[in-house]
């Protein structure tokens, strides 16, 4: 490949283009094991040794398409081959090999037919050694990737798998169940691509490090050096890679980019697979054009400003799953009036503007495009030229995004501007993130705040009563003069962050939601009454606590879970009711030990 690198051409660009899910060249790089870009995760570090432990008989990998099941198994086979394993059979759906006296069998997809053999027949043969009423014996280990539903359908309620069936059943039905030592169940759906454990790098960091090839062992970006490519000082790939490789700027941009992936995770509307993150990182860094196409665009003066990483993170017209979700978090769409005003009147090469950026970055490939946009903005408020107006929008959005990633916090503060965190569409992101990472609600502070928020969403505005008690309207009638609220003590609730039990040993994991759980009388730990709070709901609840009143359509769609939770709580037996006709004076009705009803005015 060294020879190909000469003459303004990097052959690895074509390789990275195939990793992007919407590649116009090929999507071959999105599937299976690729030795050059595969990264060792906790699966490789913790699960692989367990698989080669003699007591292990069956390893079941479940998860979504793109979670890396097949790649992991193929990586396992590759390592075995390197260690001298004897392979007896190899197909496109798995293989069998022997190593250290143990027979290994792998199956990449236990949920599909293969070469004329019906799926159930394939599974019957695969699980034949695991039939019976007792734990399996024999010198074998089987590794299978299978859909959870298929595993249930095939194993459960079959007489021949009575022992295995019990294990599978308990694994699915009980969060706290630890399977027999000969079995390992791994659900890759629980794996998070972003995590912040000091002792282990996140998958995001691992893949980004591999793509950036910082130390250069893979030689991915050698061809992009100015001495090898005459387009280097204009090429966005060079800018993107070198920005993230930069010793000072790189870690900062990476951290801010990572927060965006956290935000996607915390929204809980899309599971980010390894395929997703590989695809999107490839798009952010390399975009979707070959060296030849890039050079042609640069030669004809075509603006490539949208391909610089800070714009590419929020692509408007891409169909990639993750890209579309990321657009919802576009940091150029939030508003900070003082900064927005500044951007409008300052060009990218203005000293005041340059002072806001982290110093030391030598790449300037984007400057010419930004400057051109700035100079082609409307001349005065009467200028309605649509192209110039569009230029103004594009300049404004591009610079906001660039500042989000590359601005120096101190400089922004000194100039009286918001810092990068304030560009995020979630004002309470830091609070949410902090509870998720510590996995603890210290001194019940968050519990009390959420209690008040939910109470306020029911239109009770007394902050003390609303935070000490979860108050739910007794009817949905809005025309009534008097409002009645069922009351449940806040101490009957707690905020929890869920873990994934034994699987955390093998998977990088970051909780993606908080749970507001009922723990009062009659609470059932196996089927708890709880409200799942992803970041969008958290954000709105925090705003409600601060006085925001949601619109009816928000309540109908966005708060469906909240409404269902309230109904389940209201089904409990409240011991107190609050009545009010003016929101300021509240009356409490409760029963005494003799079951008489007593009304008292709150606060005397």
């Amino acid at each position: 490949m060294e020879a190909d690198m000469a003459g303004n051409h990097n052959p690895f660009v074509a390789k990275f283009l195939t990793i992007y899910s919407q590649s116009e060249l090929s999507t071959a790089g999105t599937r299976g094991y690729d030795p050059q870009t595969y990264v060792d995760t906790k699966l490789d570090l913790k699960l692989t040794p367990r698989i080669y432990s003699p007591e292990t008989r069956l390893v079941v990998l479940t998860g979504n398409a793109g979670d890396g099941k097949t790649a992991y198994i193929q990586r396992l086979e590759s390592l075995a081959r390197d260690q001298g394993a004897r392979f007896s059979e190899q197909t496109d759906n798995g293989c069998t090999y022997k190593m250290d006296g143990i027979a290994y069998q792998t199956l990449y997809d236990g949920s599909q037919d293969f070469e004329g053999a019906k799926n159930d027949q394939i599974l019957k043969e695969f699980f034949s050694d695991l039939e019976g009423t007792a734990e399996p014996n024999g010198a074998f280990t089987k590794i299978i990737a299978i859909n959870e539903g298929k595993l249930r359908d095939f194993i459960l309620n079959k007489r021949e798998y009575s022992w295995l069936g019990r294990q599978v059943h308990h694994y699915f039905e009980s969060d706290s169940f630890t399977p027999h030592k000969s079995l390992i169940f791994i659900n890759l759906n629980l794996r998070s691509v972003v995590s912040d454990n000091e002792n282990e790098p996140s998958i995001f960091d691992l893949i980004l490090d591999r793509f950036l090839d910082k130390e250069g062992p893979m030689g991915f970006w050698n061809a992009c050096a100015p001495e090898n490519c005459s387009y280097a000082n204009r090429c966005y790939i060079r800018y993107n890679i070198e920005t993230l490789r930069h010793p000072d700027l790189g870690p900062i941009v990476r951290h801010r980019l990572k927060q965006l992936f956290y935000a996607v995770l915390f929204r809980k509307i899309r599971h980010i697979t390894v395929r997703d993150i590989r695809s999107f990182l490839s798009y952010i860094l390399i975009n979707k054009y070959s060296c030849h196409q890039i050079q042609a665009d640069l030669d004809r003066g075509f603006s490539v400003i949208d391909r610089f990483y800070y714009n590419a993170v929020f692509p408007n017209d891409e169909k990639d799953r993750l890209a579309r979700t990321m657009c919802d978090l576009d940091v150029s769409l939030t508003s900070n009036p003082k900064l927005d005003n500044f951007i409008h009147f300052h060009g990218p090469d203005d000293d005041l503007c340059l002072q806001l950026l982290i110093v030391g970055h030598e790449e300037r490939q984007d400057q010419a495009y930004l400057k051109k946009l700035f100079e082609s903005m409307p001349r005065g408020t009467d200028d309605n030229d649509p192209i110039r107006r569009d230029n103004a929008h594009r300049y404004h959005r591009s610079l906001r995004k660039k500042l989000f990633f590359e601005s120096a916090e101190d400089q922004m503060k000194a100039a009286g501007f918001p810092i990068w965190k304030d560009f995020l569409p979630y004002k309470k992101f830091a609070r949410f993130s902090q509870v998720v990472h510590t996995r603890e609600d210290q001194h019940f502070g968050l519990r009390n705040n959420l209690t008040l928020a939910i109470s306020k969403s029911e239109r009770i505005y007394n902050e003390i009563i609303g935070s000490e008690n979860l108050c739910l309207r007794s009817t949905s009638t809005t025309k009534a003069n008097t409002k009645g609220f069922y009351s449940f003590p806040a101490s009957d609730f707690k905020v929890i962050v869920k873990d994934i039990g034994f699987q955390e040993e093998f998977l990088e994991y970051t909780p993606n939601a908080l749970y507001y759980r009922y723990i009062g009388t009659g609470a059932n730990p196996k089927n708890p009454v709880e409200l799942e709070i992803p970041i969008d709901l958290f954000e709105v609840l925090c705003r409600i606590r601060e006085g925001y009143i949601p619109a009816a359509n928000e309540v109908r769609t966005f708060f469906l879970n909240l409404e269902m939770f309230k109904r389940r709580i209201a089904a409990k037996r409240p011991d107190k009711i609050y009545l009010t006709d003016d929101d300021s004076s509240l009356f409490e009705i409760k029963k005494d030990p003799a079951n008489n009803l007593i009304m008292t005015k709150v606060g005397g």
Binding site: S474, T477, A480, D575, K576, L579, N595, N596, I598, M599
Partner: protein, 400 residues
């Protein structure tokens, strides 16, 4: 509120359509259904109680300072309580024709069996016999009726039976009650259920589609599984919604069955006979099964919009036919009633279409209607029909 007029009465034939085709106030129907559950099918038609207003209940609370403490010590509290009772516990109607009088209690919200104590039969019900229909649906099932059923113990929670149909708060269970139920039961404790009208006991109904009835029971059972997981008011709302939905479905299905009966003389479809609780999915094979297309795009998708409107038009066409079919069957019943021992059953009724006097009877009836005495003011609707007939005859003669 209009009563049933002569035309309505002439149309009603509850053998085939047990629910009166008119506006229904569902909460009233459910409240009366609770009465029928409690009395095992005997309605309450009269009362000795004075008219009750929310303020009357506040006065009762004031008279019982042991059980209700601190509730009526000032006018603010009294007003608060009166509003709360009016809004959340009672259904009220305004006194006087102009509707600007005081709001009197028509019935308490049917959230507990004890609420039937304050059902005011003087206020004309817009039940339209839905409560009778529901009673007949459930009377043989052990889902709602009986102390071992799913619903009755839920509805009578915290009370002990007293007399024929009355109940009193069970003090030994008062501690287990939620605050709202305790308040309601204490409030209603001294009231009594009115005497029932045994002469008007509900007669059993022979359902034109027994399988559809089974479906109502089945769906209700599914809902009642969740009775302890949702608030009491919520469950009652869901039950009311479910009953309304199923009553409508039953009517839609009956329209088709009645059309078929009028056209062919055949009673019931061949599929539904063998359908039981275990094979309800076979209802989808029924040729009379109502089909509804709901446009969830709210008109944004043109195709969905068109399909939904077509379906409504189709239902209207069936309904239009139904009016004629229903009237025809009603008239056959009228004819058959002249020949004892006719028992008013549908099977029996359809035999009379082949009776020797059938055509002659209706010919005479028609002549009576068409005959107009001098100076008689004719009902405009009848006049329109007569004019149409005259025109039609003239047209036929011209053709000849």
């Amino acid at each position: 509120m209009m009563g049933i007029n002569k035309q309505h009465k002439a149309f009603r034939f509850d053998k085939i359509m047990p629910i009166d085709a008119n506006n229904i106030i569902l909460e009233q129907a459910f409240a009366r259904f609770l009465v029928l559950i409690r009395t095992k099918g005997v309605p309450i038609t009269t009362t000795n109680k004075d008219t009750i207003y929310p303020r009357s209940l506040v006065e009762l609370i004031a008279d019982d300072p042991t059980h209700f403490q601190g509730m009526t010590t000032d006018t603010h509290r009294k007003q608060l309580l009166e509003d709360w009772l009016a809004n959340e516990f009672a259904t009220t109607i305004k006194v006087g024709r102009s509707g600007d009088g005081d709001a009197r209690i028509a019935n308490m919200k049917p959230i507990h069996m004890s609420t039937i104590k304050l059902l005011d039969p003087r206020i004309r019900s817009q039940d339209r016999d839905l409560s009778k229909f529901l009673y007949n649906v459930f009377q043989d099932s052990d889902l709602i009726m009986g102390n071992e059923s799913l619903l009755l113990p839920y509805l009578t929670t915290g009370t002990a039976d007293f007399g024929d149909h009355d109940s009193k708060i069970d003090e030994s269970k008062a501690a287990e009650l939620d605050i709202e139920t305790l308040f309601l039961l204490r409030l209603l404790n001294d009231f009594k259920v009115e005497k029932v009208d045994k002469k008007k006991r509900i007669t059993a109904h022979d359902f034109i589609c027994p399988a559809q009835r089974q479906l109502i029971i089945n769906d209700t059972a599914r809902l009642l599984v969740y009775k302890d997981s949702m608030p009491r008011r919520e469950l009652i709302d869901y039950l009311i919604m479910l009953f309304a939905f199923h009553a409508a479905l039953y009517c839609l299905k009956s329209f088709r069955l009645i059309n078929h009966l009028a056209d062919t003389g055949q009673y019931r479809c061949r599929h539904c006979r063998g359908i039981n609780m275990g094979s309800l999915d076979r209802l989808s094979e029924c040729e009379f099964q109502p089909d509804i297309f709901v446009d969830l795009t709210s008109g944004q998708d043109k195709e969905c919009d068109r399909m939904a409107k077509d379906k409504v038009a189709n239902h209207h066409a069936i309904m239009y036919n139904y009016f004629r079919s229903h009237y025809k069957i009603k008239k056959i019943d009228e004819f058959a009633s002249r020949f004892p021992p006719y028992n008013h059953s549908i099977e029996n009724l359809m035999n009379f279409t082949n009776h020797a006097d059938f055509n002659a009877y209706f010919h005479v009836r028609l002549t009576d209607i068409m005959g107009v005495e001098e100076n008689e003011i004719i009902d405009p609707e009848i006049k329109a029909i007569l004019d149409a007939l005259v025109k039609s005859r003239n047209w036929c003669n011209a053709l000849k």
